[in-house]
């Protein structure tokens, strides 16, 4: 009999098949908490003030614009017959779309076990919440008489009248408010263990008290983790159909109407893909500067930027497909109105909107095919801004270009925004960046407990787990 082998020889993984680690430089658990907490515990950096003061000024501008518009009426905007939806709805859809990347990262990528998401999910979720807040302002103010906003909710008016649930605009109220609430819950559940970490590190009584209160007395008990992880998984499972439904319902605001260019079945998936595309654009715009300003290069590594570029590319290709498909549907439908609308979109007086949309959303992301470009952070950052601009123009093309030349040529009119439109939009950036800067200064902007969980030494069965942790 020949010898029986008692050991099988496991070949070592070849270098080219090895994945880059999620946390670079083999950082220890302690290093991760120290590094992330340093952003909230250290002295306020100068660049933070340099960003915060202008943001606060823009927020003041938003307040002034809202006051002016509410006190005077929606006539201060450029909305004129037949373009009854202008920058207000463009910006609403743009902001809410930006939020979608946060939920995609936090929920869908969690279900798909994409562990790289842990480095960016906290900041991306914060971005979602603040973007939805900016978005939420627009429907509330564009109704004109904001003091009747409560009619949107199922509260009877003085005549006993209820909201009309046959309208997709009502569905939108439920979709957006649910989206906001669930995003906040999901974000907060993720924060609990990290708030407990800040409580345990706190030097002052006040901080200890506040972080202790908001972390609900979290101890890190495994019996608690067991329920916590289940709740987190369920919230991810609930947020996934939620995020897909939100932009689908936003698209139904358009597609349930009878207008050429709006009345189409491609809208829900096309809107969702566009939302994720624009959201990833914004995540890249925010995180590329932040990772170097806050010295988080070992946590948000180049590999993270690389995968986010790939998601941007993939969703960019989906929206490009939708842009082309819309033309084919219009041609194939045989409807003269539909055909006219799309000819007008590309060749009419507002051709520049369409050109901006096509170049920023279809051509620019194609550069992400090249690894050289995905690795060059300055270039990625600039391209991500183009994505944001392109997606704004997409909504402009849908909303304004869809309206300004309607069925009756006698009512055609060119649309121009007013200075109030422009300043209100700039003001929402003030709200967004003020909140985001406050968030990153006072709360852990990286999900510390989750990052620790994806390091090699966290896995009790990993050969490296025995080591107490590399360099610190």
């Amino acid at each position: 009999m020949s010898e029986v082998a008692t050991h099988t020889k496991v070949p070592a993984t070849p270098l080219e098949l090895m994945r880059e680690p999620l946390v670079a430089n083999q950082r220890s658990f302690g290093w991760i908490s120290d590094r992330v907490s340093a952003v909230t515990e250290g002295k306020t950096p100068k660049w933070w003030w340099a960003a915060f003061v202008p943001s606060l000024c823009l927020l003041g501008l938003l307040g002034a614009m809202l006051y002016y518009q509410i006190a005077t009426g929606v006539g201060v905007w450029g909305n004129q017959h037949p373009t009854m939806w202008g920058w207000d709805i463009v910006n609403f859809v743009w902001w809410i779309g930006i939020g979608h990347a946060g939920t995609l990262i936090s929920a869908i990528l969690y279900l798909l076990r994409q562990k790289w998401r842990t480095a960016v999910n906290r900041a991306a979720e914060a971005m979602t919440i603040f973007a939805v807040m900016c978005a939420g302002i627009y429907p509330a103010i564009h109704v004109g008489r904001v003091w009747f906003d409560w009619w949107l909710f199922p509260i009877p008016t003085y005549q006993g009248l209820w909201p009309q649930f046959r309208s997709p605009l009502m569905w939108d109220v439920f979709a957006v408010s649910t989206y906001f609430t669930v995003s906040v819950l999901f974000w907060y559940v993720g924060l609990i263990p990290d708030l407990a970490m800040l409580r345990d590190r706190a030097k002052t009584k006040l901080k200890q008290f506040l972080f202790g209160l908001f972390s609900f007395g979290w101890t890190g008990s495994n019996r608690h983790w067991s329920n916590y992880e289940k709740a987190y998984l369920i919230l991810a499972g609930l947020s996934t159909p939620l995020v897909l439904s939100v932009h689908s319902i936003v698209s139904l605001d358009f597609s349930v109407s009878q207008l050429p260019g709006w009345h189409t079945t491609i809208f829900p998936p096309y809107f969702v893909a566009g939302a994720v595309f624009s959201g990833f654009g914004m995540v890249l715009t925010l995180l590329i500067p932040l990772r170097s300003m806050c010295h988080l290069e070992d946590i948000i590594t180049k590999r993270h930027i690389d995968v986010m570029c790939k998601v941007t590319l993939a969703t960019g290709c989906i929206v490009s497909y939708a842009y082309i498909m819309e033309f084919i549907i219009a041609w194939y439908s045989g409807s003269a109105m539909e055909r006219f609308h799309f000819m007008n979109r590309a060749l009419g007086p507002m051709w520049w909107g369409w050109v901006m949309m096509m170049s920023c959303n279809m051509l620019v992301p194609q550069l992400f095919w090249f690894k050289k470009i995905r690795q060059n952070l300055v270039v990625v950052w600039i391209l991500s801004i183009f994505v944001n601009i392109g997606m704004w123009f997409e909504r402009f093309v849908i909303v304004v270009v869809g309206l300004y030349r309607d069925f009756l040529p006698s009512s055609w009119d060119y649309y121009k925004p007013t200075w109030v439109d422009v300043c209100t939009y700039l003001g929402t950036f003030g709200l967004f960046f003020t909140l985001f800067l406050l968030f990153m200064r006072f709360l852990p902007m990286i999900a510390v407990s989750e990052i620790k969980g994806v390091t090699p030494q966290a896995d009790p069965h990993h050969p490296e787990a025995g080591a107490t942790g590399g360099h610190s």
Partner: protein, 179 residues
């Protein structure tokens, strides 16, 4: 009541995930009931090592979801078809299709509250006081150390034997925590 502090339990510190996992297996096999492991992040396989059963949070979320969907459908039917019906374009007063999107959103909303509420209820949180949180060393449980706590109220608890067990499990630092 006695004037001096009562003992809450023995706190054993571990440095790495495999040691704390194996310690948990030993304590589980020794038949302790009132004990727990405290970690900065959930450790894969710890539930099995401790003998913790699958979490029941799912039931709370499910109940929330069912409540949300029923609430949505009933609310819309009652508001638009019973309490104040308005005929629009000859459409039916109530249609499950038009009522679906808001009900779907309410399913998710109530389901999410169910998951969060269920998690907090099962964990008995928020809790404003815990004996361990007063312990100086225990602050590292959210940083980079792993702890096992066996409470004195456990029927199997014995000051010397339990300490020996924890030492044998590989803990180099064992302390008594006061109530």
């Amino acid at each position: 009541m006695s004037t001096h502090a009562k003992a809450f339990g023995l706190l054993a510190e571990f440095d790495t995930t495999p040691t704390v996992l194996h310690a948990a297996e030993r304590i589980r096999d020794a038949g302790f009931r009132k004990w727990d492991v405290f970690t900065p992040f959930p450790i894969h396989g710890m539930d099995r090592a401790m003998g913790v059963k699958n979490s029941k949070v799912g039931w709370f979320a499910f109940l929330g979801g069912v409540t949300g969907y029923t609430t949505g459908m009933l609310m819309i039917w009652w508001m638009n078809a019973v309490d104040y019906p308005i005929l629009i374009g000859g459409k039916p007063m109530f249609s499950p299709f038009g009522a679906f999107p808001p009900s779907y959103e309410l399913t998710i909303l109530f389901g999410a509250f169910g998951a969060l509420g269920g998690m907090l209820f099962l964990n008995r949180l928020p809790k404003l006081h815990h004996p361990l949180l007063k312990h100086r060393r225990f602050a590292l449980a959210t940083h980079d150390k792993f702890f096992v706590v066996i409470e004195t109220s456990d029927p199997k608890y014995s000051e010397t034997e339990t300490r020996k067990l924890l030492e044998a499990a590989g803990s180099k630092r064992i302390e008594m925590v006061e109530e």
